[in-house]
């Protein structure tokens, strides 16, 4: 490495992979990419590229080669890399609080393995709630998001209200950017609760699995009746009080959903949602052993492709509607900005971007780790707010081991992967599905799924269809297609 080189140019750090039969994809630390044909790639790595050619200038522009002094290039790439890794700057932002493990639903796939509605011993009490909030506010992050989870948090509504008020009281002095999210199935919602939610500016995250028959089949009430009918009534009530923007919904895809993906998307559009998060089934809780729910990566990927095509068509017909996972990946591929996402980042988001506080004060690096804890596997228990100091919980061996083993740059299979900068690691899932936190990439479903999706997005990017690319940019910039197309350049 030198500024006075013996070769006509310096090849900068890059990953490469041969794909689509006649192309080689090059990517660098900053997530920039370039496709080159195999002959030119051979010339590139043997230093036979003409440094006056347009190809060389393209590669130079992407910081894959340089024929000038190297130190300004390192300076620039370091800045870009720092920007991309900006999600690390804040440490733990998302704090998920399990207000109760009780739930009035018994969903077929429930990864939280909920308890009966009347079993109040599974509720978080006030002493624990206060200590949880005290612990949360010791996070060095300037942003704090408290997400109420369950079970069904509305079953322990008084504790939700208490935490919101207590957190706001503490924050009067600390002045952090504080926000709240309530994850609820909505069925116990009423005007009084919604007025509080509106006044405290709490966002609602709910669940919708599609049309009535699909939703009712997956999301079953503990008592008889249609969960969909109640959901719909309460959704209208919620929107009438807090408006459309304060509520979003999550979809869980089961085997029955695969052939109905268009119907599901139509349902989301019809109910006024501006996007959908296509989410494969989590291999935890009830879903782990229920064969009738699951499917393989190939089946999921075919559904993803079909759904993406349908969503793009919906946008081209005039309705702004995003697929959020695609937007996340496209932002990583096509922009220089940082996009932390706890389920897909490197190092993993477990503990350093999110933490879960169980009803009894136990702290876990993710909800999946909490589920393993409930199954008796306490390997990922970071501590308990009643007995442990913040520093012991968040600077302990559990979190250090997870982070040390979830940097894609060092994981077998990931270390030389061309998609490294767009992907991430999930050590808890690796442990749950493959028996160790490192995982085995050739048999890893998480890896196969993300590889297939990212590769497909690159295929669409290469095709460079104007309509598709316009839709992608409208999602990345959060602007309606019409507005994007009318922008004067």
């Amino acid at each position: 490495m030198n500024d006075s080189r013996s070769t006509p140019y310096t090849i900068l750090p890059l990953q490469f992979s041969r794909m689509f039969s006649d192309k080689v994809l090059l990517t660098n630390e900053a997530g920039e990419f370039f496709f080159i044909n195999p002959e030119n790639f051979q010339e590139l790595v043997t230093y036979k590229l003409n440094t006056s050619s347009s190809l060389f200038y393209d590669l130079k522009g992407k910081h894959l080669v340089t024929d000038t002094d190297i130190h300004p290039v390192i300076d620039l790439l370091a800045t870009k890399y720092r920007t991309k890794m900006g999600f690390l700057r804040n440490f733990t932002v998302l704090h998920m609080v399990v207000i109760t493990v009780r739930c009035n639903h018994k969903c077929r796939y429930c990864h939280a393995s909920s308890e009966e509605s009347h079993a109040t011993q599974w509720d978080m009490n006030q002493v624990v709630a206060e200590k949880v909030v005290d612990t949360i506010f010791q996070s060095p992050s300037t942003r704090i998001k408290i997400e109420f989870q369950g079970g069904e948090p509305l079953l322990n509504w008084e504790r939700v209200k208490y935490i919101v008020k207590y957190a706001k009281k503490i924050n009067k002095h600390l002045k952090k950017d504080l926000s709240f999210v309530l994850c609820t199935n909505l069925t116990l919602m009423n005007e009084e609760k919604l007025n509080f939610i509106k006044k405290q500016n709490i966002l609602i995250s709910t669940s919708l699995d599609g049309p009535k028959d699909l939703h009712d089949n997956n999301r079953r009430l503990r008592q008889d009746g249609s969960s969909y009918d109640i959901f719909l009534k309460k959704l209208e009530l919620t929107k009438s009080i807090i408006g459309n923007k304060g509520i979003s919904a999550l979809l869980t895809i089961t085997k029955d959903s695969l052939s109905r993906i268009d119907d599901i998307i139509d349902e989301y559009v019809d109910k006024g949602f501006n996007g959908i998060f296509l989410r494969a089934l989590n291999p935890f809780g009830y879903a782990k052993n229920n064969q009738s729910l699951g499917y393989n990566v190939g089946e999921y990927f075919r559904t993803y492709k079909k759904a993406l095509d349908y969503i793009i068509k919906t946008n081209l017909e005039g309705t702004y509607f995003e697929e959020f996972y695609t937007t996340l990946l496209l932002s990583r591929i096509m922009t220089p900005f940082s996009t932390g996402f706890v389920d897909l980042q490197s190092p993993a988001g477990t503990g350093i971007s999110c933490a879960v506080y169980d009803f009894n004060g136990d702290v876990y690096p993710s909800d999946e780790a909490r589920m393993l804890g409930k199954m008796g596997i306490k390997k990922f228990l970071m501590g308990n707010v009643l007995r442990d100091e913040y520093i012991k919980i968040f600077n302990g061996d559990v979190l250090r081991e997870l982070i040390n083993n979830s940097c894609v740059e060092t994981l077998p299979g990931c270390a030389w992967c061309v998609f490294q900068q767009y992907c991430g690691a999930d050590p808890i899932r690796n442990f749950s599905t493959q028996g160790d936190i490192t995982g085995h990439r050739p048999t890893n479903e998480f890896c196969k799924k993300n590889m297939a999706i990212i590769k497909y997005l690159f295929e669409l990017i290469i095709e460079n269809n104007d309509d598709v690319m316009d839709v992608f940019w409208s999602w990345i910039t959060k602007r309606p297609l019409e507005e994007l197309r009318n922008v004067e350049l």
């Binding site: 490495m1 030198n2 500024d3 006075s4 310096t10 090849i11 900068l12 750090p13 890059l14 990953q15 490469f16 041969r18 630390e29 790595v45 190297i70 130190h71 390192i74 300076d75 790439l77 370091a78 800045t79 890399y81 720092r82 890794m85 077998p412 299979g413 030389w416 085995h440 990439r441 050739p442 048999t443």
Partner: protein
């Protein structure tokens, strides 16, 4: 790329379930072979052993005795993967220090970057 007759000379099909590949250790770093083998471990049981002073032997056995119509094609793919991994290793020898400097400079800016680069050269 490894193609045609050269390829045949290094791949020996022992049976429908077993293939042996000889790779020169003058051309290939063992880490290039390990990395290429890793990708195949979902389908095959793999043994790597030195044959003599100049060669590694890699034996692939199909897992679960299942028929694999693409067995030979995958063996050729493996040989090409070894070449690509060797290229990654060779490139990393050239720019590995640059990568380290980029990451270091990103999180803990180096004041005299130009001097550090000159020293690396010395």
């Amino acid at each position: 790329m490894v193609e045609g007759d050269n390829m045949k000379s290094i791949i020996t099909k022992i049976s429908d379930e077993k293939c042996h590949i000889s790779l020169s250790n003058k051309c290939f770093d063992k880490n290039a072979i390990y990395a290429a083998v890793y990708k195949m471990t979902d389908l095959y049981d793999v043994e790597i052993q030195p044959i003599n002073e100049d060669e590694f032997g890699v034996t692939f056995t199909i897992k679960n005795q299942k028929d694999d119509p693409l067995f030979e094609e995958k063996m050729r793919e493996f040989c090409n993967d070894v070449l690509d991994h060797q290229l990654r290793i060779d490139l990393d020898k050239q720019y590995g220090k640059i990568r380290e400097l980029i990451v270091k400079h990103a999180f803990s800016p180096i004041e005299n970057l130009k001097d550090v680069i000159s020293k690396e050269h010395e």
